[in-house]
Amino acid sequence: MTREEIESREDESMMDAPQINKPKPEEFFNVNYLRIYYGKSNLFPYSDIHKWLSYGHDGKHPGCDEYYFGRREFSFTLENDVYLRYKSFKNASSMEDAIRSHFPYKIDIGAVYSVDPDKRHAYSQTGSNVFTPVERELVFDIDITDYDDVRYCCSGADVCSKCWPLMTVAIKVIHTSLTEDFGFKHILWVFSGRRGVHCWVCDPKARRMTNEQRSAVAEYFRVYKGNENNARKVALMGYSLHPFLARSYVDYLKGFFEGELQATQSIFSTKDKYEKILAMISDEDIQSELRGKWENSARSSLSEEAISLVRWEQLKNTLQSKKHKAPTLRMCVEEIVFTFTYPRIDLEVSKQMNHLLKAPFCVHPKTGRVCVPIDPNNCDEFDPLAVPTLSQLIEEINSGGSRMDVDDDSDDSDTSLLGKSVKFFRSSFLEPLLKSCKEEIESSYKTKIGKSKDSLSW
């Protein structure tokens, strides 16, 4: 198999990363690999995606809506940034055919509309046949570039083992809230392929939420309100934290801040770094007191991490004794912890039903990595740098001899690079979801039948 050179625009995105040992883009992503991935290799899980987005409407039950899948919007981004919106497919095989004829660089999933997106122009914009979204998963997008002001190891598109834990903490905080506070049950977390995570909440209740309700949930999650104009981007007013924030702080954020974060980011170890933190304390005297202690500390043999921890203790003690000086100091310690660790979601993605989001199991064109699901109950184990790349998958096929059959449920598929992810998708997410969908279709059908029976009775 020959390799093809691809557009050099791929190289531009690599400029901000150190060039040492960075493999060239053609080595893990190119259009030929993409053809194999979406082709007959049984890598991309077409039928699983179709089953998921059909939500049980497989036509086998009289209560099914056989046109449901056909009303879902997809969009394709092709080579050269050609963008095709409002694509829809009436079944799995037409979806497969379309993907196999375009080999899109990116596939996005949109909302389920009132009519087939690709037939929307046939309907007028008024009256009862308006083209409008009717269902859409509640989605979240967390991108590590939104944390650039608090991570020192990387910036921009890069991600490493030192800063990835920020994503892990974000998953834990949001996932716990979605299940404990909002009672959602069918939640899928997906690696975005390079530097973030996406979350798909698929409960029927979630899919039917209005834009206003989605906005409310997004705002509930919002704590960080930053821009260059303010130094104190997290302002926690009142006399205590809201129970959701308190639980997040006690169960995840505090431990992470005082432990792993100090080890990986050493946020107090240099003047530049600690000045940023001092700026969050709204009292000049306290700032000076701490600055005095730190500027003049003797050259010690302690590690960066140890120095940071010592300074953090000093800060905490000082603030503890002085926090009654002003309302803005009351929860200053918590504010600092939240600034460095609390999830920063992209609000716009969550607020509107018609917002498109990348499909799971797509391949990221800049990294070649597959957008695999992440287990929220085991997210500490997830390593973004160990996610299979397109080229690795192709290698595996070549060296394995016979094709890896992803539909094979035997133990062999566990050992294939992608098989494990697909298996997880099926057993932890898809199967429970479909079971619950079928129950709902069944019960609402029974209710409908029951009602019409009553109307016929004498």
């Binding site: 404990e180 009672g183 705002e219 509930y220 205590s240 809201h242 129970p243």
Partner: protein, 454 residues
């Protein structure tokens, strides 16, 4: 609801039950006299416009509570409680017919009725509020006993997080699906657990207002459908003209009879246009002088205004003739334009003495290519508006205030601010009629000029 000709009222079937605020869930089953159909609606409209005005002026919630209380007592009160209740219901449903007919009207009505409901609700005592919540038939249960005990600590945390230093929890909490109270969720003002929000009694307003708004919104769509398919045609000789007039009804003096301040003669007209005309009329006037022509919309808007300002019919004919004949010739003027000027003054045809347009009507008009009528604050581009305001003598600081109102679509407030900037005085009543602008302006100018020597 049955509308009947003047007859003695038959007692209504509606019993006045405890809730003092009706929820307008179903159309009332009662007979309404034709006069009451319009009168009740006009009174309620005065309340809604008062609410609109209060909101536009940025009144805080407590001020709005007081304003609503005052407005309601002034326009809707009746010594007989059951009559007052009936008027409340009837007027609401009539206005639904009026305001369901376009998106803009629907949006306004929905906002004002929701605000009215919100503040009337806030004025009720707790028992009355609970009764109203019950009326909605919402399956919200009060949380009691063991469940409440188990939540007490976290409910206390919520209370403290909102700035109350002691974690005292209210006596009553309602368990509500979180979707029903989006604003409380967004601002983290409630405890949420397994999809339910725990709403304090004092937070009930949010709950019911969301319900109310959603119900009225859906109802308006259904009403619109019924209106366009059956009612409008069926009632074309009776209710439809009333309904159509109500949405543009302007509820102040109509300026059809000009006052002593307002008489102007032809020789003064240019000077008076510069000193006292509002921007919309200045623009039209300038265009007539410039182009020696105006299209129909402009002729109506300016022509009726001039009548209201005190221009006699003969002077009006002379004015328009002087300009138009420069373009179309004397014969064509007599044939095509003189008639309609006389018509405006009630000297032809139906002999209706037409009233000058109020701001509301002007703002809602739709000037097209070649037209110069309409409201400049709404219909001009930002650049053109700034240029026009500059010519009126506004400083750049004054202009910013006006442009701000324009951006927020408060066109009448923009005109009021212009008035205040030009004459250096405040205008608390707010401009809502071009002739009002003219009269107020003349009052100020006359009070400044010394009386002419005898």
């Amino acid at each position: 609801m049955e509308v009947i000709r003047s007859q003695k009222r038959t007692p209504s079937n509606d019993t006045v039950s405890n809730p003092k605020i009706p929820l307008y869930l179903t159309a009332p089953q009662m007979e309404v006299r034709l006069e009451e159909f319009e009168l009740f609606a006009v009174d309620r409209l005065r309340v809604l416009k008062g609410v609109s005005d209060g909101l536009a002026r940025g009144r805080n919630p407590k001020e709005m509570d007081d304003l609503v209380d005052t407005l309601w007592k002034e326009h809707m009160r009746d010594p007989d409680a059951s009559l007052m209740f009936n008027k409340d219901i009837i007027s609401h449903f009539v206005l639904r017919l009026v305001y369901c007919r376009s998106d803009e009207l629907k949006k306004w009505f929905l906002s004002m009725e929701t605000a009215l409901f919100r503040h009337r609700f806030r004025l009720q005592n707790f028992e009355a509020q609970r009764a109203i919540v019950g009326e909605f038939g919402l399956p919200y249960k009060a949380v009691t006993g063991a469940e409440l005990e188990g939540l007490k600590e976290r409910l206390g945390q919520v209370v403290r997080s909102l700035g109350q230093i002691s974690p005292t929890v209210e006596a009553v909490y309602y368990k509500v699906p979180f979707e029903e109270v989006p604003d409380l969720v967004a601002s983290r003002r409630v405890l949420i657990q397994k999809g339910y929000a725990f709403v304090a009694g004092s937070q009930l307003v949010s709950l019911v207002v969301t319900q109310f708004r959603s119900h009225i919104s859906k109802a308006l769509i259904l009403t619109n459908r019924k209106w366009t398919t059956t009612i409008r045609e069926r009632e074309k000789d009776r209710l439809t003209p009333i309904v159509e007039a109500l949405s543009t009804s302007y509820l102040g003096p109509d300026y059809s009879q000009s006052t002593e301040y307002a008489e102007i003669s032809l020789k003064d007209i240019d000077q008076v246009a510069k000193s006292s005309f509002p921007l919309c009329m200045r623009h039209l006037f300038e265009k007539v002088r410039e182009d020696h022509h105006l299209k129909h919309g402009g002729r109506m808007q300016l022509g009726l205004f001039l009548k209201g300002v005190g221009l006699k019919l003969d002077d009006a004919l002379a004015f328009w003739r002087a300009e138009f004949t420069k373009k179309v010739g004397s014969e064509r003027f007599d044939k095509e334009y003189a008639y309609s000027i006389r018509h405006n003054y009630g000297k032809e045809g139906k002999r209706t003495d037409y009233t000058p347009y109020a701001c509301q009507k002007i703002i809602l008009s739709a000037p097209g290519a070649g037209d110069h009528h309409g409201c400049p604050y709404r219909h001009f581009s930002e650049d053109n508006l700034r240029a026009a305001l500059g010519r009126m003598g506004l400083s750049s600081r004054g202009m910013e205030g006006v442009m701000d109102q324009v951006r927020n679509k408060h066109y009448q407030l923009a005109c009021t601010m212009t008035f205040e900037a030009v004459y250096g005085t405040s205008c608390d009543a707010g401009i809502n009629h071009p002739n009002q602008y003219f009269e107020e302006s003349q009052k100020i100018l006359k009070s400044k000029t010394p009386p002419a020597p005898v």
